[in-house]
């Protein structure tokens, strides 16, 4: 039986196609819109001072966010040191040693942890670090972000280790390597570019987290010494400046948003470059 394509069906097809096309353009342009918006509003504050100077006391204009930029770096470093090794080793166990049922249970719990609201993780870090030490600190902020990195670190590690072909593992074991030796000398090196970029994306994901830092790292108008004192971070700085009544601070907040977003984008792009050029890409 021949089917005549009716005019109404042609119209619906054309309409839906156009609509999905427009939505695609929207999706792609959102990023550039945000970038441009941040730049337009913060451009005047985005100068050398912004990267080198401390914030000015209330009421004065100018100044910068050097302490928050360095502070974000320190907190993210701590988060990596805390979150990546735990997540990585758990991922190794999950991928290589756990039985089917047990793996299912671990994965389920890890996914639940990934779904825990970041503010709740902030409270946990508050209870674990701030309360016993009696003050806010970079360590507390790093702990909060580190906990947030764990689930993705686990799943990234699991996925990239599983993607290493069986024949490479067999090659190592056929030479008399034990399972553990095989994992650490062949499997992990084969997955290293994927693992590295996965961890970088993970870091980029928590770099913009604000809620868990509000009552852990707190913030600081000055340079923070070491890792045990309250510390300024870009997201918290943006939050504080954005809710302040002063126009100049709003501009600085826009500029900080631009810097933070650029940082995240740079980490993202370099992570993807690493994975595209790494040894694991050659075996796909």
């Amino acid at each position: 039986m021949m089917m005549e394509i009716s005019t109404s069906r042609r119209f619906i097809n054309g309409f839906m196609l156009t609509l999905s096309g427009i939505c695609t353009v929207l999706v792609v342009s959102v990023l550039f819109f945000i970038l441009g918006y941040l730049l337009i509003h913060g451009a005047t504050s985005l100068n050398w001072d912004f990267f080198t100077k401390l914030p000015k006391p209330a009421g004065e204009t100018g100044g910068g966010m050097a302490n928050a930029i360095v502070g974000s770096g320190k907190v993210l470093l701590l988060a990596t040191v805390i979150g990546v090794p735990i997540g990585f080793l758990a991922g190794v166990f999950l991928a290589e040693y756990s039985g089917k049922t047990f793996a299912f249970a671990i994965r389920y719990v890890v996914d639940l942890l990934n779904g825990v609201p970041s503010i709740v993780i902030g409270i946990v870090a508050y209870a674990l670090v701030v309360r016993p030490m009696h003050h806010f600190s970079a360590l507390a902020g790093g702990t909060a972000l580190g906990i947030m990195m764990i689930p993705i670190a686990v799943r990234t590690t699991e996925e990239f280790l599983r993607s290493v072909p069986v024949n490479i593992r067999e090659g190592a074991m056929a030479l008399g390597a034990t399972k553990a030796t095989t994992i650490f000398t062949v499997v992990i090196p084969a997955a290293i570019s994927g693992l590295t970029s996965g961890m970088m994306l993970n870091l980029a994901r928590v770099a913009g987290e604000t809620a868990p830092l509000l009552f852990t790292a707190l913030g600081n108008q000055y340079w923070s010494k070491g890792y045990l004192a309250p510390i300024a971070t870009l997201p918290v700085m943006i939050y504080n400046y954005a809710i302040s009544p002063e126009e100049d601070l709003h501009k600085q907040a826009w500029a900080a948003g631009f810097v933070l977003l650029t940082l995240v984008l740079v980490i993202n792009v370099s992570a993807r470059l690493i994975i595209a050029r790494g040894p694991s890409a050659q075996r796909r």
Partner: protein, 276 residues
């Protein structure tokens, strides 16, 4: 070449099941002896009562249609199947008279090397690939390592092609070179037996010829067992050939006998292409 007595021991797989005086007599030159090997993937029995001897410093080939169990049996001989979950092996397997299943598994695999169907170089340099087996066996001294790497690459007929790029990644080599690298890697630990699981199935005729030549060369230092789909390859290379069908060893004998005057109807049908 094997003496007529040795050939007798291969003759009848049914009586092979009960070790008899002939086997004991020939035992001196037998590297591996398998008796009543059964193998199971879960409920599925992949090998039925396999008994055979692998003579020292000879090439033994296993032929047979896909799924006949020849690779499974090969992987039993270095206990590689143990890496698969839910598998079980029964029977008696001896390496130089010593029970293979009682030995330390890493020791077994060092003594019984393996080359796989698909070349599997590690994502490391050429040098590190060949040195890998020595390193995991505790050898660290660089003079010993570089000597062994050179020797192994020469034996695998790859040295002249890679001697100037030992620090290049192994993935830069061609398919045939990668497979020869894998052979060099296996030879570096000086295995007493080298198992090859269809090593040429992914290679072109020239690369295949190179590998066959090198296998012929290394026969004097190691015992070779090769699984192949290619009957001409078995005929060219092997001193002895075993024919597997549906998880059973139909017969194993002098290669000439298998191809020209086989003892069993199934073997004749297979080698003459009348199979199925």
């Amino acid at each position: 070449m094997a003496s007529p007595q040795q050939q007798q021991t291969f003759k009848d797989p049914v009586t092979e099941a009960n070790p008899k005086p002939d086997v004991a007599k020939a035992g001196a030159s037998m590297k591996l002896t398998a008796r009543n090997i059964n193998f199971f993937y879960g409920q599925f029995q992949a090998l039925h009562d396999i008994s055979l001897d692998i003579p020292s410093n000879k090439v033994t080939a296993f032929i047979g249609p896909s799924g006949c169990g020849k690779s499974t049996f090969l992987r039993t001989m270095n206990r590689m199947n143990e890496t698969l979950r839910n598998t079980r092996v029964e029977g008696d397997l001896k390496l130089d008279g010593e029970n293979l299943f009682d030995m330390d598994v890493t020791d077994v695999r060092r003594r019984v090397g393996m080359v796989f169907q698909k070349s599997n170089p590690f994502p490391k340099t050429i040098f590190d690939n060949v040195a890998y087996g020595l390193r995991v066996n505790g050898i660290r001294k660089s003079s010993i390592l570089s000597e062994a790497v050179e020797r192994s690459l020469k034996r695998a007929a790859l040295w002249s092609e890679v001697k100037d790029k030992l620090n290049k990644p192994a993935s830069a080599l061609s398919g045939g070179q990668q497979q020869r690298l894998c052979i060099a890697r296996a030879l570096a630990v000086e295995p007493e037996v080298l198992l090859l699981d269809e090593p040429c199935s992914a290679l072109d005729p020239i690369a295949t010829l190179k590998i066959e030549e090198l296998l012929f060369q290394i026969k004097d230092i190691t015992t070779i067992v090769i699984v192949t789909h290619n009957m001409q390859q078995a005929a060219r290379l092997a001193d002895f050939t075993g024919f597997f069908l549906m998880g059973k060893l139909i017969e194993i004998n002098d290669t000439k006998r298998i191809f020209q005057n086989p003892g069993m109807k199934e073997t004749e049908d297979y080698v003459t292409g009348r199979f199925g």
